[in-house]
Amino acid sequence: MTAHPATEAAIRVRGLEKSYGKVEVLCGVDFDVARGSIFALLGSNGAGKTTVVRILSTLLKADAGTASVNGFDVATQAADVRESISLTGQFAAVDEILSGRENLVLVARLRHLENPHAVADDLLGRFSLTDAGTRRVSTYSGGMRRRLDIAMSLIGNSPVIFLDEPTTGLDPEARVEVWETVKQLAGDGTTVLLTTQYLNEAEQLADRIAILHQGRIIANGTLTELKQLLPPATVEYVEKQPTLEEVFLAIVGGSHKRSDNGAAKSGDTSDATGTSN
C-alpha cells in the first residue's frame, strides 16, 4: 500500500462506461466523494446504481473510464481496493445456516483480526442482536438480517463503505435504525457511498446527492444546491398534516430503540408476513 494524501477524494469516478451486450448501462459516469462524507446515488430501478457499486467494489470490470477508491485504481490495484472497502450488497449477504454470531466471527477471521469472538459479541450488542446471536439466521426477520449484514460490513473498520439500497424492504423502524448507523459511521470518519431509490433517504442522510438517470449523472450537489435547480419557493399557507410514517411511528411506540426481545418478536411477525407475500 502506498501513501495517499488525505485531501484526495475517497472515491473518484471518471467517464465510467459499462454495457451488457447491446444494453448500455453506464454511459460516462463522473463523480467524486469526499473523505468522511455520505454520498447518495439516487436513481430508479435499472438506472445503473448497482453496476457502479459492483465496479467500485472490484466485482465487475468497466468497459471504459477509470475509478479509484481510497487512492487505489479499481482495475490495476484491486487487492488494495479490497483492503479499503466493505460492501453491503442489495440483498442481505448473510449465511442462513450459521448463527448471527458465527457469521460475524467468520468475517472477523477472514479479515485476520486478533480476537474474532470479542468483535462478534461487541457488534451483536451494538445492533441489538445479542439475544438472537446464537440462533440460525434463517429464523431472523428482514430487519434483523439487514442489521447483521451491516454489522458484518463494519468489521475491520474499512475507510470506505458501500451500501447498495440498504433499506429496501425494511419496515420504517428498521429503516430509521439503519439511518442512525450510517450517520454514526460518517461521524466517525468513514466515507459512505449509498444507493437508494427513496428520495427521503437521500434527503435524510446524504451530504451530497447525485442523480443517476439512463446511465449518466444528471445532477450532483448538496440538497440545497439541488433545490435551487427548481424555481424559487413561493410562500403558501397549508395545514401541516402528519405523514403516515409519523403516525405509524407514534402509534407503535415512537422510540426508535427497540429492546432485544421486542426486535425479535416484532421481527418474527414481519418475517412471517414477508414470506407469505
Binding site: 479490497r82 448473510v94 445456516i97 468475517v107
Partner: protein, 253 residues
C-alpha cells in the same frame, strides 16, 4: 494475498463443512439411493445375475460406491449455487481474502461429505454380507481411487454450480453420471451385452474404475485396469478444472 490462501481456505472450509453437518439429511439422502439400489440388486435381481463370483454384493459394491459419489456431488453444485445467488459469494469476493479460497472450500467440503456417505454405504454393505480380505494397502488404494474420482466429479459440479440458472439445473448434471455405471461392468459382466453397447461399456471410465476396485477387494492382480482408471480420473479432473476456471473467470472480474 497468497500468504492468506491456506488460512482463508481453512476458515471458509469450516463454514461449508458446517453446512454439511447441519443438514445431515443431505448426507443421508446421498446414501439412501445407492443403498436402496444395493438392496434391490442383491435381493431382487442378484439371484438371476451370473457373475461367476461367490457373492453378488462383493461384485456390485464398487459400482454402488461410484453412484454414491455421482449423487453426492449434486449437493456440492447446490451448495455453490446457493452461495452464488445469496450474495455471500460476492461479499467474500469483495473482501481482502484469497478469492479462490471460496471455491477450494467447496471442493474440500465435497470430498469430506462424500467420504461420509461412502462410509455409510460400505457399512450397510458389510451388514449385507460384503467381505473383503484386502489388506491396508489395498484399502488405501481403493480410497485413493475413490478420492480421485470424487475430486474429478467435484470439479464438474463446480462448473454446474457456477453456471446454473436454477437450483434444479445445478443438480441435473449428476443424472447422466449416476446412470453411467448401469452401462458398465458394475452390475453385470459386459460379455453379455450386444456389440455396440458392449463396446461402449468396456471403454467408458466406470468399467476400468469398477474392475480395479473389485480386483483390489478380491486381492486379485489389477493389471492394466488401474492405469486406465487413473488416466480417466486424471483426464476428467484436468478438463473439468479448466472449464471450471473458465466459468469462474466469467463470474469474477
Amino acid at each position: 494475498m497468497t500468504t492468506y490462501f491456506f488460512g482463508d481456505t481453512a476458515v471458509l472450509t469450516g463454514r461449508t463443512l458446517r453446512h454439511v453437518t447441519r443438514s445431515v439429511d443431505t448426507v443421508i439422502t446421498t446414501a439412501i439411493t445407492p443403498v436402496a439400489m444395493m438392496l434391490m440388486f442383491v435381493y431382487v435381481f442378484g439371484g438371476a445375475i451370473d457373475t461367476g463370483s461367490d457373492k453378488y454384493v462383493n461384485y456390485m459394491l464398487p459400482g454402488i460406491l461410484l453412484i454414491t459419489i455421482a449423487s453426492g456431488v449434486a449437493y456440492t453444485a447446490l451448495r455453490l449455487f446457493t452461495d452464488m445467488t445469496s450474495g455471500i459469494f460476492e461479499r467474500f469476493q469483495s473482501m481482502p481474502i484469497a478469492r479462490s479460497g471460496v471455491l477450494w472450500a467447496h471442493v474440500l467440503t465435497s470430498l469430506v461429505a462424500n467420504l461420509i456417505s461412502l462410509m455409510v454405504v460400505v457399512g450397510v454393505a458389510l451388514l449385507m454380507g460384503f467381505r473383503s480380505g484386502a489388506g491396508v494397502s489395498a484399502w488405501l488404494a481403493v480410497a485413493g481411487i475413490l478420492l480421485l474420482f470424487t475430486l474429478a466429479l467435484t470439479w464438474i459440479a463446480v462448473i454446474a454450480g457456477l453456471s446454473a440458472k436454477t437450483a434444479e439445473g445445478g443438480g441435473a448434471f449428476a443424472y447422466p453420471l449416476i446412470f453411467l455405471p448401469f452401462v458398465s461392468s458394475a452390475f453385470v459382466p459386459t460379455g453379455t451385452m450386444p456389440g455396440a453397447v458392449r463396446a461402449f461399456a468396456e471403454n467408458q471410465p466406470v468399467t476400468a474404475i469398477v474392475n480395479t476396485i473389485r480386483s483390489l477387494f478380491a486381492q486379485q492382480p489389477v493389471g492394466d485396469d488401474i492405469w486406465v482408471a487413473l488416466a480417466w480420473c486424471v483426464g476428467i479432473l484436468v478438463v473439468a478444472y479448466i472449464f471450471a476456471m473458465i466459468a469462474y473467470r466469467r463470474k469474477v472480474a
